[in-house]
Symmetry: C2
Subunit: 375 residues, 2 copies
């Protein structure tokens, strides 16, 4: 029987990761296809479900080479947050790529038979997966599974940020993990589309990397004059919208304050104790720092901070525009939307201490691909 | 020459409050009216501009009985926040009521001649004020200036909260300063309109007060089981929108967590590590606690926290609906929208240590009216 990776929160406050044998998925609707999975990325967005907030520095490995098992302790806080999933072994993996080996009766499903597709929808860390054609993106002829494995999460998130900017009436963006895989992709989109982008990075070498890729505004948060540099960069772009993957700490508030300071530089400004009437927004789309968000209000009343997720956003955007965005990903798969992997491992190798600790660090610039089958 | 109250931030980091003689305002457009001011409230929303964040515990009084002067020291932080107003003596006062004694040529201006009106637009702590008829609300026959002085800020803020709930697709409200003048007004509106409301109060006697006024859901944040009580009250109402005047501290995050906990109680709920997909929103419309807002994220990704001000909201709502809301205020001026004052003082008496310290405390249940002229 085919293998599937599972993440279980046990009642004894232990996370248990294992490979389980599951029945071959079957096609249950005419628009479904059965995909032989070939590759799937370990995205930061997979880590929450996979690791359940467990302390991976205290993880241990058991089982066999073919059926390795990783266990790690969960704090009381992590157990409380995961109450709803205790005792249920959750399949994991937001996206991947593979080849369609069976299809339902519908013409759009039949059209994919034998084709390599990118797909999303959870439970992708598995040898086989049945999904609706709506969850598939046919890959361009000749594209490898490696090239197609990350066709949804990062590309649609980056495109979704630019779409959000347009639909909510902003004209430039701030992004807080500029040098990440996603950040580099967003930089390529913005350069191509003429969207002014302020890239915030946390290390000088990341600033260099982005500048080498043509980024015009790069601000390093590790230098003493970060705040002043941020105001300058925001003033140069007119950004009033930021996407932040860090979450915890004071960064979101600092960005709002820098936006307001940049707006106050504009000529013809009239003092109001409520601040400017121009709305400033920071969306938190990740939580690299799980500490509380601390917002020191020094930027008037026209502001917002909130959560942002790409799929609910696309739902609001509607199927037509979403389809256009997906087509663009396919068209520019090996240029704008290319992902770079620093490591390739098997499903079994995911469940090794070395791999799992490396992934749980989510270090900028490192990205691992799970090679499930040749392709 | 008529008197006007002014608030000046001096370059030597001192706040100076005084009465200055200003020329009689003149009508400069056909739709303007000249109002002899009779009464004006000291609202919490006036305190920021009036006091500029000065340390009023260290205030001192000088000048004469007719021209008293209050001075108080400003911290470095308050000076930094007020940079833009240093050296400019700002007129103060968001709203008030008085009698129209001159009018421009336009029919709608002429129609108000001799009538008592409520008005808003700043600089209301003065003996005379010229404004557009758009900033006036004709008071019902027989209404006193005391009854009409607070016809805009609190009534439109409370109505704006209910309108925001409707336009943003929520069905119930949480309000964090339930026993305030505004909170009691909001409670009357919600009871009349059948809008479920969770009132958060900070003292047992405030809970009693609101219950005596018919409030159905009152939660006291000073008791140990506040969190559990809040979840119960939110679950009973289905509230996913809150208005908070406190701002600093952990309350906004606690409300979002309680909303998510209440949503998770609903049957048929499917676990997602991103939380429910139902948007939860807290608007901060005041800053009674100037400390940073601390948001501990334990409620998924469908959330927002942001600033909210009534006049920008009404601008988005449009003139037609705003006019309907103002008409309702006029119709229910002495019932739903009645304000209660615990003290009445003259313009000169505002500039006494006793009055200014009492106002700067903004204690729930205390409200002062400035009596500018009989009416």
């Amino acid at each position: 029987m085919p293998l599937q990776l599972r993440s279980l929160v046990r009642p004894d406050a232990t996370l248990e990761l294992s490979l389980v044998e599951v029945p071959m998925p079957t096609i249950t609707a005419s628009d479904e296809v059965l995909v032989h999975m070939e590759a799937s990325p370990l995205n930061p967005s997979d880590m929450g479900l996979l690791l359940a907030g467990a302390d991976m520095t205290r993880a241990s490995q058991s089982g066999s080479v073919e059926r390795p098992v990783i266990t790690a302790p969960l704090s009381a806080g992590a157990m409380a947050a995961g109450t709803a999933r205790v005792g249920t072994a959750m399949p994991v993996g937001n996206e991947g790529a593979g080849t369609v080996i069976a299809a339902g009766d519908a013409a759009e499903a039949q059209a994919l038979l034998g084709k390599r597709v990118a797909l999303y929808g959870g439970a992708m860390y598995a040898e086989y997966r049945a999904v609706s054609v709506k969850q598939c993106l046919p890959l361009p002829a000749g594209a490898t599974a490696t090239q197609g494995a990350s066709s949804f999460i990062n590309p649609l998130t980056a495109l979704g940020m630019v779409e959000t900017m347009r639909t909510e009436g902003h004209r430039a963006l701030v992004h807080t993990v500029g040098a990440s895989n996603l950040g580099q992709m967003l930089n390529r989109i913005c350069l191509k589309d003429g969207v002014p982008l302020v890239n915030i990075v946390r290390k000088p070498e990341h600033a260099t990397l982005l500048r080498e890729q043509g980024a015009l505004q790069v601000v390093d948060s590790s230098v003493p004059d970060f705040t002043a540099n941020l105001v300058d960069a925001i003033a140069a772009t007119g950004a009033t919208l930021a996407f932040d993957a860090i979450g915890g700490g004071r960064l979101a508030g600092q960005i709002l304050a820098a936006m307001e300071a940049a707006l106050l530089r504009q000529p013809g400004h009239v003092y109001s104790r409520y601040g400017t009437d121009i709305h400033k927004q920071v969306y938190l789309y990740g939580g690299l720092n799980p500490a509380p968000v601390e917002i020191e209000r020094s930027f008037g009343m026209a502001w917002g901070v909130g959560g942002w997720l790409v799929f609910p956003f696309l739902q609001r955007l509607g199927p037509q525009r979403t389809q256009q965005l997906q087509q663009r990903v396919s068209d520019e798969l090996t240029s704008t939307f290319a992902s770079h992997y620093t490591k390739e491992i098997s499903l079994q190798q995911v469940l090794t201490l070395e791999a799992i600790k490396s992934c749980s660090r989510m270090a900028t610039g490192e990205k691992t691909l799970i090679r499930i089958a040749p392709g």
